[in-house]
Subunit: 324 residues, 4 copies
Amino acid sequence: MSRQRYGAGIWHFATYVDRYATDGYGEPRTVLDAIELAGRVRDLDVVDLNYPFFGGQFSNEQVGAALQAAGLGVIGITPEIYTRTFSRGSFTSPDPGVRRLTHELCTEAAGVVRHFGADYVKLWPGQDGWDYPFQVDHGALWKASLDGVGQLASENPDLNFVIEYKPREPRVHMSFDSVARTLLGIEKIGLPNVGILLDFGHSLFGGESPADAAQLAIDYGRLFGMDVNDNLRGWDDDMIAGSVHPIELFEFFYTLRKNGWEGVWQLDQFPFREDSVAAADLAIDFLKTVERNLDRLDMAAVAEAQSRQDAVGAMRLVHEVLFA
Amino acid sequence: MSRQRYGAGIWHFATYVDRYATDGYGEPRTVLDAIELAGRVRDLDVVDLNYPFFGGQFSNEQVGAALQAAGLGVIGITPEIYTRTFSRGSFTSPDPGVRRLTHELCTEAAGVVRHFGADYVKLWPGQDGWDYPFQVDHGALWKASLDGVGQLASENPDLNFVIEYKPREPRVHMSFDSVARTLLGIEKIGLPNVGILLDFGHSLFGGESPADAAQLAIDYGRLFGMDVNDNLRGWDDDMIAGSVHPIELFEFFYTLRKNGWEGVWQLDQFPFREDSVAAADLAIDFLKTVERNLDRLDMAAVAEAQSRQDAVGAMRLVHEVLFA
Amino acid sequence: MSRQRYGAGIWHFATYVDRYATDGYGEPRTVLDAIELAGRVRDLDVVDLNYPFFGGQFSNEQVGAALQAAGLGVIGITPEIYTRTFSRGSFTSPDPGVRRLTHELCTEAAGVVRHFGADYVKLWPGQDGWDYPFQVDHGALWKASLDGVGQLASENPDLNFVIEYKPREPRVHMSFDSVARTLLGIEKIGLPNVGILLDFGHSLFGGESPADAAQLAIDYGRLFGMDVNDNLRGWDDDMIAGSVHPIELFEFFYTLRKNGWEGVWQLDQFPFREDSVAAADLAIDFLKTVERNLDRLDMAAVAEAQSRQDAVGAMRLVHEVLFA
Amino acid sequence: MSRQRYGAGIWHFATYVDRYATDGYGEPRTVLDAIELAGRVRDLDVVDLNYPFFGGQFSNEQVGAALQAAGLGVIGITPEIYTRTFSRGSFTSPDPGVRRLTHELCTEAAGVVRHFGADYVKLWPGQDGWDYPFQVDHGALWKASLDGVGQLASENPDLNFVIEYKPREPRVHMSFDSVARTLLGIEKIGLPNVGILLDFGHSLFGGESPADAAQLAIDYGRLFGMDVNDNLRGWDDDMIAGSVHPIELFEFFYTLRKNGWEGVWQLDQFPFREDSVAAADLAIDFLKTVERNLDRLDMAAVAEAQSRQDAVGAMRLVHEVLFA
């Protein structure tokens, strides 16, 4: 009887800057500081690490030692293909030199995945897209997105690559903007080792039902990872999971369970002004509430209500187990 | 120890048309049919009635008899100033004849309020606003909105008039679009018998925090009524209360309780494809969950967390009482 | 030197109801009335006809005679699979009888397409989707959507079927919600005679760039039709084309021209409170402005700016030809 | 016959960071660098300066010399009450020490306004608001917002203070969120020297019509300043003015002209990836197109169409002068 494993992006435990608080929402932290904080979260098993490691020059071994001290494993490596060098695009930069740098950084990240025995390289090409009407040749941009990912996947057949789509930010529009667009691209790439990391909040923000997005990705055999958080559906607020949309979060996990999807339940939160550890603990406590109440949910009765598309009946079943 | 009273717009128990299903989502019902259905809801005390009564020619006495049979009282009367006659505006119609008809219909509605001993005339001037850039003289439009409401309120000092604001629909932009705009207008009108009916969903749709909107209206002494429902924040979906935003609903009622606001908890739902009675029962059952859990909430501890603007601390207190 | 052809949905010349103005925004019109009005538009060549013909019992011959008198051809037939019968779904109704009726109505519409020598059956399954979390089995719903369309396309290999996607309305979420989802579905169906009718406003509403959506559909060989209108990006307002987003409209037509796409430029507008003919004339006059200014646009210079993703350079080229 | 004066926030010529490109979208610049760049814009007259001056320790005299060399005047001073110190609130911080620092910094900024003979202290309390349900006592938060501004205005009766409202960012919800809420607050403060700086993009983002917002602020005698930019209505994208919403921009300036409002036309753009000077030149060139076409617009005919709320007629007049 395996217990559910929990994870988090290591950036959950960093501090942040934005275009206003340019001096940051707190003292800068190194990746080692962040790992130490992550280790204090009650139920955290694994982390996703940005690469290069932030806050200084650290070797894989140093990071590995910190992880061991904190009792944490590595689920994925996220190459930082969205910093200044890549600010006009990574896979889709108009500059071939930058496209080459993108490839090199992701290839290095693949090496780090191998080093840590992690599950995947996570690609979040947040600077690939456009801001203005008429700015780009849309066909060429999309082709460059697929070529870049495809080359990596074909050169590293031993590893999985996951694409984390998002509607926008920092670009006004991001190339991999939705579950369907990303699946369309993955099918075009046509390789078995490219999948989706579904971010619950990105899905909400994009007007999707995260449960529907998960089902679609699963039906294509491409749901390789996921993370959760919350927002007001109009932006990627990366708020604490369960603080705004507990019912859709419950439906999301219901869908995973129904399909026998058994991966790590990860957090992708940005606690700008909150205590990182407290924010993670609150979220994971809520995820455990979800887990517990899924055990209590009469899934056959839900399925029966759904066969009639009976919204009131299904919601009543959910309300009964979810609320006190 | 008075029990909480519950209400609903009588249109909750009607059937609907829209621009696609022009033949309606069900057989047309008369107001008498709707009252009969409302009477089957387990915990409903009062209804808000559209005027003229829909589905036929019915006298106040006929309607009163149906209400009595159903065990229901009347909280308000909503003159239908948004049908064909008023489709280019009611208080703000460019046609002075239509503005006069608006005044006459609302004056009749005031008589119906007196007949039933209801609490208010509810004004929802949904056709007052604009669709296109350059369509209207914005200053003149706003002045007409205030003049229309002001005249009614000054001619009927014995009655309360409540304005239900909404960002848009059926107009692309509605004149009374937000709590602040409406309060600004009410202050300009300057009469004691004009207040706000705060619709939880309209507030969410408008990007407000409904709790903040309620507090503001209360601080101006203008929260005369309220109703709840739910939506995805991008439209006035009029879904079942508690189906999407249970936490913000809880905060809304927390704010009412904190301020000692003791009015009716009403529903404004449009169950297009659902059984009306089941949809109302589900919502009211959820409102009772809210009520019960407010009793359990440590309001002093919440206030203390709020004094530090401690989001995590306050949310933990809420999660602990709200979820199973 | 072929002149551009213009079209409109015949509903542009109908009157409308909504959930508030249940008595309609004007006197009901028959399809024959609407055709007569359409004939008054200065530059209209073809119309898309709802089926069954609205406002009475009319034969194909009667409608054909009215079209001939108005000087109009038929581009497509839109079966009304979104009225009361289908209000809980058409292809995805939980009721197999309704799914069968959907098939029958669309099959009849195919006959009407053949009668008029039109280009396609247009499928807009606006009632296929969901309203509430937990309401549907998402995998089953999507499968039913594809099965329904696929069956029609395989049974009628001589005809084209176009799917008009939209994010939502009247459902809170519509199954065919985006260009990418629809293409994914079409690829799964795997038949050559299923394509997309791209509605400019639906694309804006869904957070897409309509130019990007068009390019993607073209790259898959699936852009079978299109129509334009405008909105505020938050709803399918079906406003007059060129009233809010003239630059993105210009980019949309730029994309069509660049790809040599030479179909009809259609309108899908709902002039609730406006004169239908004046609204169509204004829109088509703007489309002619677009056409004329595309002739003046230095497309090579735009392409060069786009090769550098130079937003300012490209926008300057556009501003110079588009504005006075 | 005075020529229109143009202005810009000096940050238009800075480089930016965000939460992803933490190393910035370009080399950091000092305020002196930025002034030098601003001086290269063809038609710029004045700038709004952040205070403290960014990029180093600079005296008023040094900045003044740079401005003189660039041929620029100062319209306003914007105290940076949104950096790390103020990241949990400025006027509304739960920490009284931070509230005092806010007051001190704004008081210093008032001195800089006097030094440069500028028009106003601009208050943009972007960190005042909330992120989570239940995080704040809404009544107390609003009171603190008004107290903070009121104290400054009453202590500096010789100066004007302008509040720049915005719906959100960096907070999930900002206290001064809309024109109506801000006017409500200003009326409560009750001092003559507090007004609004209306940002066109913030108004669009908040679901307002900027023309309507301007008219309302003017009718209260509180439109003390304005700036323009553009966005997709879902976020404060601070894009180049005229790149998305040229018609509503035209209506905004039409409203100013109609009311005889004769202030500076300012830019508030964030050209993250664009050449700052080119972005400003493009925007101002478009504003000159607006100015020129306003001269050609038959304002009496527009007013006549508006008296009938004739959207099509008014839009035709606009299309005729605005488009080539």
